[in-house]
Subunit: 147 residues, 2 copies
DNA sequence: AAAAGTAATGCAAAATAGTTGCTATTGCTT
DNA sequence: AAGCAATAGCAACTATTTTGCATTACTTTT
């Protein structure tokens, strides 16, 4: 019952996310967004491909993810081996300047990427040679499930 | 004159780096290491391929870089698009635990990765759910050459 | 409710990055 | 000088991501 409600809410949320960004509400995009909402960690294209039921074309996933990233719905971080992971943005992100500057944790064991929304990235002092736009902070170690 | 001295020193340094890590002093590895010593930013395999004179085999580069990484001579960071960049380690790094926890700066314009040796990565408090091994801190913006 | 416009999908193909197996070299040790 | 093992070189392969083009299907307009 609760689950049903939650899923319904997520579906509604996904629809709103799409329309509020001027994107079309197609089945697969709604499905993708709901998958992200059910997750506490970032997903790779491979993860998604396994989870998505309706379609199996990777290209569609790539294009949806890129579109979401450009519209500030998702942000991306490369994992340790350089593969991209995606996760939902906080409110107020745009494609060119993501506001959600929280830390990420990547498990050395299962290789999952967790968004630590509550861990804000501390500032460092930077020489005038560099003009700062954004920062990322990634921790590696062992996650709760792998200990 | 100064340059010649510097190059000679780098050659000597490169030889020492290899022998002190039990690696053989081959031409291309010496060349690779000297290229890194002349750089203030991290290099990708593509960068190296363009710069290296003697050989053009990517596989050799990959294997050399992996070997250097495992031996604590180089460390790697993925750039924004997930491609790997390599840069010299500080003293005392080993393959499994790199000590040089400094911040990196990636230019949005030229896409170069700079090692900010003097910028130490600040700690954050992390929930007990996670067991921390290492951290990385990457800043994005515009570098001195691109402003 | 149909038509039109355009965003999104699917398929094929290609570009790019990185890996693996195997043989030939070559640096280093004895 | 000989022999071992590390490294280089070549070929082929895997994986990831991108691109072009024709088709489908949302959304808006009429």
């Amino acid at each position: 019952m609760k689950k049903a409600t939650k899923v319904m809410n997520n579906h509604k949320l996904a629809e709103d996310l799409l329309t509020s960004h001027g994107l079309r509400r197609t089945q697969i995009r709604l499905e993708i967004l709901q998958l992200f909402m059910q997750q506490d960690h970032a997903l790779s294209v491979n993860d998604l491909e396994k989870m998505v039921k309706s379609s199996h074309d990777r290209v569609t996933l790539y294009r949806a993810l890129n579109s979401f990233e450009e519209n500030g719905i998702l942000h991306q971080t490369p994992d340790k081996s350089g593969n991209m992971r995606y996760a939902l943005c906080a409110e107020g992100c745009s494609g060119h300047h993501h506001k959600d500057e929280h830390a990420h944790f990547i498990c050395d064991e299962c290789n999952q990427t967790y968004c630590l929304q509550e861990v804000k990235i501390p500032d460092v002092k930077l020489s005038d040679d560099y003009q700062l736009n954004s920062v990322s902070y990634t921790m590696n170690g062992i996650c709760k499930d792998c200990q």
